[in-house]
């Protein structure tokens, strides 16, 4: 008895501590805020189909990875906070043409037209000028910048566009620096490019020519002489792979894998906020009504079930943060549904207890039997939910469905623990040891007297 009480108190204390963690870390400034899906935070979800038909099978994985990196770099340029760029390869049951996908999530903002256009665009190479004086000015002021963003902005502002771009590059090829053996990218300009390049280099000897890829400087060499033959060289600090990729991008002027947009979803912030508020409200109301129902019908054990349900809720919310689970409207629905289902095991146990009581067993025995005998039904019925959950998770066609399935699965598993282990512990701890009129009333249930 004492042992049960000590354990029960311990479990309650731990649950309360975790609950406090959930509450504190859930504040906007907290260490572990809930991770919200796009349908709750608002934002844009894009699905691209990648055309791998022209690739050798051995190159596919590499190409998809570099596709991901290129797109991520482009998306980052638009200042989207925490964009998600991922590839999906050969997912279950995809047809041949949609087996390789690129998924881009841009949370928070809905006006993404420009960002979306840039994803499918060809890489942009352009050349921008900074005079030697300006560069010197900038370097003397370096210490005055308080943040790196400020510094970057000032740096970017130095450069003036020249009109010389990647379109004027006729061919790019991989070369190696004779002395350092570093990989460099050799450029051959078109006739227009050659003339422009010649003029620029002639007028700007001693100045810097910035070479920009997708709007980012990759190399800023000093112009030492006029270059009239239309040949240039980019000698950034490339790895061999990076240099190769740049050569390919410049030659083919496209993403490593051609992509087409096959799905767009944009959710306005108000709709997401409605879903969050609705979810929280329904969760609380559902919990209260279910709690009242349990206490009125099942009395003392019912109260224990409510405590176990509270422990369940806390464990679930903690798992959402720690795993972490990306919450969607469907995931919240699964959570609320699971609150309703989590007490099922308790109901099975308590009904069984009542039967054992009517058979004339003492309270203590009835409890033991209730838990022991209800176990088979609980196991069997949860297995069918787990089957459904697993299949939904693996074959779900959208993030909405897999989000639902994940929460549903976790819910079923956690509820088996709380409804059986936790509520048994609590019930044993508070169970009346002697059979009296009052104690029999407390542990029996229903509105009417039991029929024998």
């Amino acid at each position: 008895m004492l042992k049960h009480r000590a354990r029960a108190v311990m479990l309650l204390v731990v649950a309360a501590a975790i609950g406090y963690f959930v509450y504190v870390s859930g504040q906007p400034s907290g260490s572990h805020p809930f991770r919200l899906g796009l349908d709750l935070s608002g934002g844009t979800h894009l699905v691209y189909q990648a055309d791998i038909s022209k690739l050798a099978p051995t190159d596919i994985a590499d190409s998809m990875l570099s596709l991901r990196n290129v797109v991520e770099r482009r998306v980052n340029l638009f200042g989207v906070s925490e964009p998600l760029v991922q590839t999906e390869q050969g997912a279950a049951l995809s047809s041949k043409e949609s087996a390789y996908k690129l998924i881009v999530e841009l949370p928070g903002i809905t006006d993404v037209d420009e960002a979306v256009r840039s994803i499918g665009a060809t890489p942009s190479l352009d050349f921008r000028l900074v005079t030697a004086d300006q560069m010197r000015d900038y370097q003397t002021k370096l210490s005055t910048f308080s943040t790196t963003t400020e510094q970057d902005a000032a740096y970017m502002a130095l450069f003036k566009t020249t009109g010389l771009t990647g379109r004027m590059v006729a061919r790019a090829n991989l070369e190696f620096n004779q002395t350092t053996n570093q990989p460099v990218v050799g450029l051959t300009f078109t006739s227009d490019g050659r003339d422009l390049f010649s003029i620029i280099t002639k007028d700007n000897i001693g100045n810097y020519l910035g070479i920009f890829l997708d709007g980012k400087p990759i190399s800023v060499p000093v112009i030492r002489d006029q270059i009239a033959d239309g040949k240039g060289q980019i000698s950034g600090t490339f790895t061999l792979d990076e240099a190769k990729r740049l050569v390919r991008d410049l030659n083919y002027g496209a993403l490593p894998v051609p992509i087409t947009l096959i799905s767009t979803q944009t959710i306005g912030p108000s709709l997401g906020q409605d879903a969050i508020n609705g979810g929280i409200k329904s969760g609380i109301i559902a919990f209260i009504i279910i709690a009242l129902f349990l206490i009125i019908w099942y009395r003392l054990p019912g109260f224990i079930a409510v405590v176990a349900l509270a422990v369940y809720t806390i464990i679930m919310l903690t798992l959402f943060k720690l795993i972490p689970v990306t919450l969607t409207a469907a995931g919240i629905a699964a959570f609320i549904l699971s609150i309703g289902m989590a007490v099922d095991a308790n109901i099975l146990i308590f009904e069984r207890m009542k039967e054992e009581l009517t058979r004339g067993r003492g309270i203590w025995d009835a409890m033991h039997e209730g838990f022991a005998r209800a176990w088979l039904s609980i196991r069997d019925s949860n297995i069918s939910s787990i089957i459904t959950g697993l299949i939904l998770y693996y074959f779900g066609s959208t993030a909405v469905i897999t989000g639902f399935a994940l929460v549903f699965l976790i819910g079923v598993i956690v509820s088996m623990f709380t409804a059986i282990t936790a509520s048994r512990l609590f019930l044993y701890a508070v169970a009346p040891s002697r059979t009296s009129k009052l104690s029999t009333f407390l542990v029996s249930n229903g509105f009417t007297k039991m029929k024998s």
Partner: protein, 302 residues
Amino acid sequence: MWVINNRKIFYTASIILVIASLASLIVYGLKPGIDFTGGTLVEVSYPDGRPTQASVATELSTIDPAASIRPSTTKDGEEEFIVRLKPVTQEEKVAVFSALSLKDTVKVVEKNFSSVGPVLGVEALRKSLVSIILVIIGIILFITFAFRKVSEPVSSWKYGLTAIIALIHDVIIPTGVFSILGHFAGYEVDTLFVTALLVILGFSVHDTIVVFDRVRENLRLSSARKPFSEIVGESISQTFTRSINTSMTTLIALVVLYIFGGSTTEHFSLALIIGIAAGTYSSIFIGSPLLVTIERLGRKGK
């Protein structure tokens, strides 16, 4: 036991509902959502008042003559249009919004915009069908396994068969209701609806198994030659409260979700409510009485 004695009444009620559902499915069919067909669904609100539907329709007709526009008002009183049209590209999206704002003369707020290409739609449809089939197979295997030791007087596969009949019943009724709602209120059947059906499948078995488990236990315990129908009747009355109560708590959660949960999950929770109500009904009034009917048929056959 009154459930067993009046089983024909309960069968009839279910048969009527199932036939009505099938009839609606045949006559009206289902209205597939853009997840399956491919297409674009736009939800916009007009903070300064909604323009006439005809004016927006004229503008949209240049992009897609088959576009459908439905006015809608949210719970907060926002006036909206919900527009469905063919899949659009990012460039066309700009044109769609220009049309919805009558060439930028009316203020329009983008609440939800989804465009799904046909390739993805076909994929979603295939995945949904495969999931449904796999869940059904998984559940049949599981029931057969769970009841493998019960063979007298009804062999184990008959429990499985009965559970499957109950399952079909539980899935057809919400589908039928959505077919009717689709015809009269524009309710669409999307991947979330399929998810609801799969959850109903799991839940329905859950309920049916509780009663069957008890039948199994009582068969083992009953010593003398008690008639099978009496054993089933006893099992139903022993599990009656728990069947109702477990469904009750789940239904409470779902009804609350339906009322307060917001528009995204409204149809989803409605489908679940109908299915779980049907599931509770079938596990008490159809599944177990069917065991008795099957047992009687078996005896007559001998």
